[in-house]
């Protein structure tokens, strides 16, 4: 089972990690650390436990997800939720596990020392993704994300999408024609 859980306590204290250690361990983009079988975001107090994929793989997958659909206003947590299905599938399907593990290992190899997450600029990482754009690995990750990221009701307000409206009586009294700037 993969679970996304909220942390009540600041993660640093719980893990006995100093801020400096955290920074050392974290990737170049978002600050994600690996502890046991979990990917943890100490800054934002959530964690994701993996069951089939290596937690390092999951952390990189989260970064890949952000690089494919970068929305600077969307926190990592939602990218983590969007890719956690790959861990669930990998637990049931060895071929899928291999697809993801090998895909990530390949990206790390292409990135050189420090791996994919060690590349400091999005452009550098995107250049690697462009190279593998046609691979089944990339297609599987991108194709799944377009639903698993944008179909999270929690991210809709970030984009100004209001979702279900029937229970509120539609928009007849709630601004269906409220545009004023024309």
């Amino acid at each position: 089972m993969v679970t996304i859980y909220e942390r009540k306590q600041p993660q640093e204290r719980k893990l006995g990690l100093s801020r400096r250690e955290l920074l050392k361990r974290g990737g170049a983009g978002a600050l994600l650390i690996i502890s046991g079988s979990a990917v943890i975001s100490p800054e934002h107090a959530w964690g994701l436990e993996t069951s089939a994929l290596k937690p390092e793989t999951m952390a990189t997958l989260i970064q890949v997800a952000r690089d494919i659909y970068p929305h600077d206003q969307v926190p990592d947590k939602y990218y983590a939720i969007a890719v956690k299905g790959h861990d669930e599938t990998a637990a049931k399907d060895p071929a899928h596990k291999e697809l993801i593990e090998k895909g990530i290992a390949d990206l790390d190899k292409k990135a050189g020392e420090g791996g994919y997450r060690g590349l400091g600029w999005e452009e550098q990482r995107v250049a690697l993704l462009k190279e593998i754009e046609k691979t089944p690995f990339f297609q599987a990750v991108r194709g799944g994300l377009v639903v698993s990221l944008y179909n999270q009701k929690e991210v809709w307000p970030i984009f100004g999408y209001e979702g279900e409206s029937y229970s509120k009586g539609g928009y007849i009294a709630r601004g269906f024609n409220d545009i004023e700037w024309l």
Partner: protein, 523 residues
């Protein structure tokens, strides 16, 4: 009370499909006292069951059975197993449709005479004229509660419409309004008026939008002459030695094969399933499929020349609020070859929710060029292009050579190549749409590729001469007089208009014809 007919009852009219064509025909016949069994492949979901959620609703209503695609259209690349976005549920695609109800223009019934021969196109004139259709259009509009007819007011314009209208004014377009919509602008027919909820494509939870599900079907059932049998997937039409059809074989809700006897069979499964069924009903007498002596079954598949234009503004729009398609510009619907193409197109307001916008704005797209568009979702306006496409023999539905569905029936392969006329029209429409939004201050515009087809037309077309098509002017097969086609597959050509009003009008007209033929004992 809804009727229940015996499988061996060979006096019934069997209709395959319960959408705009089948649902309407069923009620019209039942009102005349004729016994009807409608076999519907999908389940019955009432309007209370609809969900305001794009993917959940898709799972509930869409026809998701696998289909194959081929040809140079982009849908074949982006959605290789989903060529069409249509419905498998009682009510068919009238649960999903947007409600736009436009009559064809006079010349659109006579395209060969009006446009002349177009290279690479298989144009013929309809065997019906606008004048013949007008009384039936009027009946359909009255039945469906079309705004802007019968003194029903048009719907109020939403934000997306207001942007469209402002752009139309700037470009000098003259005919721009909130459309002729089969959506109640006032309470009528024991149904609510529109509450500007959005989610028109997900089934109207107010039942304000006309759908056979909660109009024609219950009215027909109330006569005691109509039975709707859901979860009944027809796989073959049987015939006797004389060539007359005698009944249909279908897989029932448990997957068990049943045969329903029939006096008359009417096929209304939409333009992919209807030819698939006729082709699959081949026999030693009809080795190329039923009603196919012309070889035209499955050919001349049309899907309208479509595309969308979305635009981002520096201020909010909230296009998804309110009636999805209540907004139209008709000026480009005329036939004016000086634009570089024959036929014309409509521009209609359109919006998608965030989940579908992500899936359809630029399928396969990723990276910042893509995501910065979505970042401004609430600042977007959008329109849909719907124009006449050219019928081509090569654009066709065939039975897949290898792949079969769960009932052993070959899946449909949908082949489509754009005609040069389609491409020229789409490019013109993209340019106009982008100019329209630029005129209102858009900071970025998106010429968005066609979605999986919602308007599927022409694969069992009407023709004056039996050699040119599959059915006559009443939708009756040229080859078999007790076999009818009652959906959009009988369209000879597609026109620029959303097809449902014409499908409903043809079904009303066909019911009169069938009833007359039955009383004359000629079928």
């Amino acid at each position: 009370m809804a009727a229940q007919f015996d499988l061996k009852n060979d006096g019934v009219v069997v209709i395959i499909g319960s959408g705009a064509g089948g649902g309407t025909l069923g009620n019209e016949l039942a009102q005349k006292g004729i016994d009807v069994v409608i076999l519907e492949a999908g389940a019955r979901h009432e309007y209370e069951d609809f969900v305001n959620d794009e993917w959940d609703s898709f799972a509930q209503l869409a026809w998701k059975d696998k289909r194959a695609t081929s040809g140079d259209w982009r849908v074949a690349k982006d959605f290789p197993n989903l060529p069409a976005w249509i419905v498998k549920s009682v009510g068919g695609s009238t649960t999903h449709w947007a409600g736009a109800s436009l009559r064809f223009q006079e010349h659109e019934f006579k395209t060969l005479s009006t446009y002349g021969k177009v290279k690479g196109a298989n144009l013929v004139d309809w065997p019906v004229t606008l004048a013949e259709m007008e009384p039936y259009y009027a009946k359909a509009e009255a039945k469906m509660g079309v705004t802007g007819t019968n003194n029903w007011p048009r719907l109020p314009g939403n934000n997306n419409f207001k942007v469209l209208k402002a752009g139309a004014d700037k470009l000098g377009y003259k005919e721009c309004h909130t459309g002729n919509m089969a959506i109640n602008s006032v309470e009528r027919d024991d149904r609510n008026s529109c509450q500007q909820t959005g989610f028109c494509f997900q089934g109207c939870k107010w039942a304000a939008k006309w759908s056979t599900l909660y109009t024609e079907i219950p009215k027909g059932e109330a006569t005691g002459h109509l039975e709707v049998r859901p979860n009944s997937m027809v796989i073959k039409i049987n015939h006797d030695a004389s060539g007359k059809v005698t009944g249909v074989v279908y897989a029932d809700k448990d997957g068990k094969l049943q045969e329903q006897k029939a006096r008359i069979v009417a096929v209304a499964g939409n333009s992919i399933e209807s030819p698939r069924l006729l082709l699959n009903s081949e026999s030693s007498k009809f080795p190329h499929g039923l009603a196919n002596s012309s070889g035209q079954v499955g050919k001349n598949y049309m899907r309208h020349t479509t595309g969308s234009v979305y635009a981002i503004f520096d201020k909010p729009v909230h296009m998804y609020r309110g009636t999805t398609m209540a907004g139209i510009i008709r000026d480009e619907a005329r036939h004016d070859p000086s634009r570089g193409f024959v036929g014309g197109y409509e521009m209609e307001t359109l919006s998608l929710g965030l989940p579908f916008m992500a899936a359809f704005l630029n399928p396969g797209g990723w990276g910042r060029s893509f995501t910065t568009a979505l970042d401004h979702y609430d600042h977007m306006a959008g329109l849909w292009i719907v124009g006449e496409d050219m019928p081509r023999e090569e654009n066709r539905i065939t039975l897949h050579k290898d792949e079969k569905d769960e009932h052993g029936m070959p899946i449909a392969d949908v082949h489509f190549d754009d005609h040069a006329n389609d491409t020229a029209m789409r490019d013109h429409a993209y340019k106009q749409g982008q100019a329209l939004y630029a005129a209102v201050g858009a900071t970025r515009t998106f010429p968005t590729p066609p979605y999986p087809s919602t308007h599927n037309l022409g694969t069992n077309r009407m023709s004056e001469k039996p050699a040119d098509g599959v059915v006559n002017k009443h939708g009756q097969a040229h080859d078999i007089k007790n076999l009818f086609v009652s959906d959009g597959s009988q369209f000879t050509t597609g026109g620029a208009e959303n097809p449902t009003l014409t499908i409903v009008s043809l079904a009303i007209r066909q019911a009169d014809y069938i009833a007359a033929q039955m009383s004359a004992k000629s079928i």
